[in-house]
């Protein structure tokens, strides 16, 4: 099997891992090797499904011992299997890097023999890249659930970001969909990585040039829509991961039906892309807008509203907190207004020091007046045309386009089932 075929098989197998970022660390070239890392990350291309490509995202091999229900590479699927040798993968990475196709490598693997053996092969590749070829670019490595602490430690000193996929946020979900992966096998490597990163921070305080353990942090991925989990479970788990485990990112991957199984959604069901989008919006609110999961979803409303984005949805449920006076409200209150983002809020706070903002200034400051005007006062003036009631406000704020696109998609697939062939 030549390199082109291997790349096709192993690139395709890795595509359901949605993590793509190359950000988090800033590292300049050291003069002896090749490569540097850019703090904000760089996107090199975009695929036809609109996702950014910044790393060479491949599996080391798509042979796998496990038989997870949702996975295309599961043991019982009859698909072409391939494996890279460490040298092949290293030379491919360097070749792409020299031509500025990629920022670095994203390496995952199916499980051969056991977790430790698989991880050793991955570590072999990373050692060639870092030690022999002096590669200073970005490496994101996936730790295999169940691997030993020592191997995870070695991996962390070679990679910039290490992640373990949680897949499901409840133990029942995990047992149903991935029976060979136990919750403990996933949680323990995550805890190991978290502790190592914390210890490493202490080491670096004491000795500035100590080797860094996973400097870009840890991330994970949850599958959305494969089991009957609610957004409440997902967002609560996300909050816990950010607060207690100090993860850098949690990714949500809409479930794409590949395998036929009675425990999984039907093959004809459209992937829940709008739900995934709302979850990402909620994730952003938790990370940058100081929201908590319990403000966005709770037991009475365990799912995010699909028709309307989470921030507007929260605002509609708390209309007593509005309108907000732009020239007086503090930063956190400004952040809560729909139509005011982080940058607009920062600009308002900075401009307020020297100037009293007037209604005509606001659009130039970057506020989205279509949404914000209903919720703010500027210099005592209410900026919208009239004071609306909750129902018509909901109509104004609804994301009609996104909702129609999703409903259209689902409708078309259901229609197919009802057509009678003549």
């Amino acid at each position: 099997m030549d390199l082109m075929q291997k790349l096709a098989i192993l690139g395709e197998s890795a595509r359901y891992d949605v993590s793509c970022s190359s950000s988090g660390i800033s590292r300049s070239g050291d003069g002896t090797g090749i490569g540097n890392a850019s703090l904000g990350g760089i996107c090199h291309s975009w695929t036809e499904d609109g996702r950014c490509v910044s790393l060479l995202k491949v599996l080391m091999t798509n042979y796998c011992e496990y038989d997870c229900l949702y996975c295309a590479n599961r043991h019982s699927n009859d698909i072409p299997r391939a494996a890279f040798t460490p040298e092949e993968l290293a030379s491919l990475t360097i070749g792409f890097y020299r031509r500025n196709y990629i920022e670095g490598l994203f390496l995952s693997s199916g499980v051969i023999k056991n977790a430790d053996y698989t991880l050793e092969r991955m570590i072999g590749t990373l050692q060639i890249l870092r030690n022999d070829l002096h590669f200073n670019g970005y490496i994101h490595a996936k730790a295999i659930p169940g691997a030993s602490t020592d191997l995870i430690r070695t991996l962390g000193f070679l990679a910039d970001r290490v992640s373990v996929n949680i897949e499901q946020c409840t133990e029942q979900g995990l047992n149903m969909l991935a029976p060979q992966k136990t919750a403990d096998a996933i949680a323990r490597p995550m805890l190991d990585i978290h502790r190592q990163i914390a210890d490493n921070r202490d080491e670096i305080i004491r000795y500035r040039h100590a080797p860094q353990f996973a400097p870009a942090g840890q991330s994970t991925q949850l599958i959305v829509g494969a089991s009957p989990e609610r957004d409440l479970n997902i967002l609560t788990m996300t909050q816990k991961l950010y607060d207690q485990y100090q993860l850098k990112r949690v990714y949500y991957s809409a479930y794409i039906p590949i395998n036929r199984d009675s425990r999984l959604p039907a093959l004809t069901q459209a992937p829940p892309l709008l739900r995934e989008h709302r979850l990402y919006q909620a994730d952003w609110l938790m990370r940058f807008y100081h929201f908590e999961a319990k403000e966005l979803v709770d037991r009475s409303q365990p799912d995010l509203d699909l028709e309307i984005d989470p921030k507007c949805s929260w605002a509609l449920r708390h209309l007593d907190r509005f309108p907000v006076e732009i020239n007086q409200a503090d930063y956190d209150t400004l952040l809560r207004v729909p139509g005011i983002g982080v940058r607009s809020a920062q600009r308002i706070v900075a401009a307020r020091r020297s100037h009293r903002l007037r209604p005509e200034d606001l659009k130039a400051m970057g506020l989205v007046m279509k949404r914000a005007s209903w919720f703010i006062l500027c210099d005592g003036h209410y900026t919208a045309r009239h004071i609306p009631d909750a129902a018509s406000l909901r109509f104004w704020l609804a994301d009609k386009q996104g909702y129609q696109r999703q409903s259209r998609q689902q409708l078309s697939l259901e229609d197919v089932a009802h057509v009678h062939p003549l």
Binding site: G33, G50, D132
Partner: protein, 317 residues
């Protein structure tokens, strides 16, 4: 009164300095390159060291970091090459010195909004090109072409000089007919494509502060011949080969002591591998061409390897 300045960022700054010193409020600031029939024009000569002068003044009055930030915003806005930016830049710098603060946040003032928008445009384009520039391996060096709207070449070359330090590469801006040559573990030089003459930047001090090491080629340039400028298109070993310092084809260019693995890698043609990889990476159920085009506008497509048609008669099928 209209002020005419010599085209270039230093020329503009000299005009601004003149206006500020003599407390003149100009009706317009016009570059030398445009002919004018206006009679009420004053020509201002370019001062030597005017950039350094402004940075020092701003840093003294406002603060070290903010002062530098203001000059960088002004420079980025200039690199956007938008018409009418001169008057806005004059207003921007004057406001900064009057208010003793970075005026970039006061977007309700139209001139400031224009300057900030132009600077953001340049910055965004530069960041896009960090990702969209594609090198192809010629015999003894790597070549990348692009046609940016803004003059982003001085902004992206330091990044690649740091990242690909052991690689000899040439980046060509085909819209402005400029090329940057980086020698392995060596300096970076800017050349004009039409006659392979080095570009003598009047005052490289600001460029140095943003990380670029430019060497003014003091001596006579060897092998300069009047070859025609190459139109945008595939290669030009001839053009680059005439740049002094670029290794001749017969040289074994092995500056970093490539080991066997890397020597094998250089022999393969990576463009088909990249196209193959991208083709298999997209998930058909999530197809969204509109999103792809929104993130990667079509104007960047001409020089992307993956958007080129595979060469005819290629063996990879």
């Amino acid at each position: 009164m209209f002020i005419r300045y010599e085209s270039g960022f230093d020329g503009l700054l000299s005009a601004v300095a003149y206006c500020l010193r003599h407390k003149v409020l100009p009706q317009g600031l016009l570059p030398d390159s445009e002919p004018t029939l206006l009679s009420d024009c004053l020509n201002v000569a370019t001062e030597y060291g005017v950039r350094r002068l402004f940075v020092k003044t701003l840093q003294q009055r406002i603060g070290r970091q903010q002062g530098m930030q203001i000059m960088e915003t002004a420079w980025y806005a200039w690199l956007a090459e938008l018409p009418g930016i001169s008057e806005d830049l004059y207003a921007f710098i004057r406001l900064a010195l009057q208010q003793q603060v970075d005026p970039s946040g006061q977007l309700y003032i139209p001139e400031i909004a224009h300057v900030t928008a132009a600077a953001r445009k340049t910055g965004n384009q530069a960041h896009h090109y960090l990702g969209f520039l594609r090198f192809s391996r010629q015999q003894e060096f790597y070549l990348a072409d692009f046609e940016p709207d803004c003059h982003v070449l001085p902004l992206i070359v330091p990044h690649f000089a740091d990242r690909l330090a052991d690689q000899t590469f040439v980046i060509r801006d085909l819209r402005r007919q400029l090329a940057a040559l980086h020698l392995a573990h060596g300096p970076v030089r800017l050349f004009r494509l039409v006659d392979a003459q080095p570009v003598r930047d009047e005052n490289p001090w600001l460029l140095q502060n943003t990380g670029m090491r430019m060497i003014r080629d003091a001596g006579p340039v060897a092998d300069v011949s009047n070859h025609r400028q190459e139109p945008a298109g595939p290669v030009l070993a001839q053009t680059a080969g005439r740049m002094p310092g670029l290794p001749a084809p017969s040289d074994e260019n092995n500056p970093s002591g490539l080991n066997e693995i890397q020597a094998v890698a250089e022999d393969q043609d990576f463009a088909p591998l990249w196209r193959q990889y991208l083709q298999h990476l997209s998930i058909p159920e999530r197809r969204n061409l509109k999103l792809q085009k929104a993130n990667m506008p079509k104007k960047y497509w001409p020089y992307l390897t993956e958007k080129e048609e595979a060469p005819q008669g290629a063996s990879s099928e």
